[in-house]
Amino acid sequence: SQKIEQNSEALNIQEGKTATLTCNYTNYSPAYLQWYRQDPGRGPVFLLLIRENEKEKRKERLKVTFDTTLKQSLFHITASQPADSATYLCALDMYRGTYKYIFGTGTRLKVLA
């Protein structure tokens, strides 16, 4: 079946370390992949978009990679801080280049002080 998989279990890491979250997909050929952050009781907030022809994208302490051969995106937060604790969602365009984004189940990240 078509789906997007993210680490279903929570990820706990020590402050200052790099957090790495994975997003794997099957049966899609997305042109774009987005990452969002969601805090409890809030709506998702856009973080980064990466295109299929981009291997890597950076924004401050965030880095996203996109491997269309492996059908995988990795999301890294370097020098993590307790304030980075949240659920992180990946999303891809279900129909290449169009409006319809579908989301993974999200990975809950907890950064320990």
Binding site: G41, G97, G106
Partner: protein
């Protein structure tokens, strides 16, 4: 407005009641989306509008769900004869464009609890 506004934030309904959830998108945003998010899950696509046209309603779970955006701005998601399985957070998002390069701006959601 500064962001996407949704109301009510919380709604408790008795099974069988009708509910209406409102979304006020960012001014000028062409695209508007409704998503349903169950506890511990990612948002699930419900429907999509481009201006006032509902171009995709393939995610609506049943004919009890109805969405409209009559003037291409504010949108309402209506659920008739609510059932317990309708309990979820309903998220509205808007975007400047309809293509995949547009980031989605989400509201805070409307949490519906059906008793």
């Amino acid at each position: 407005g500064a962001g996407v506004s949704q109301s009510p934030r919380y709604k408790v309904a008795k099974r069988g009641q009708d509910v209406a959830l409102r979304c006020d998108p960012i001014s000028g945003h062409v695209s508007l989306f409704w998503y349903q998010q169950a506890l511990g899950q990612g948002p699930e696509f419900l429907t999509y509008f481009q201006n006032e046209a509902q171009l995709d309603k393939s995610g609506l779970p049943s004919d009890r769900f109805f969405a409209e955006r009559p003037e291409g701005s504010v949108s309402t998601l209506k659920i008739q004869r609510t059932q317990q399985e309708d309990s979820a957070v309903y998220l509205c998002a808007s975007s400047m464009q309809g293509v995949g390069t547009g980031e989605l701006f989400f509201g805070e959601g409307s949490r519906l609890t059906v008793l």
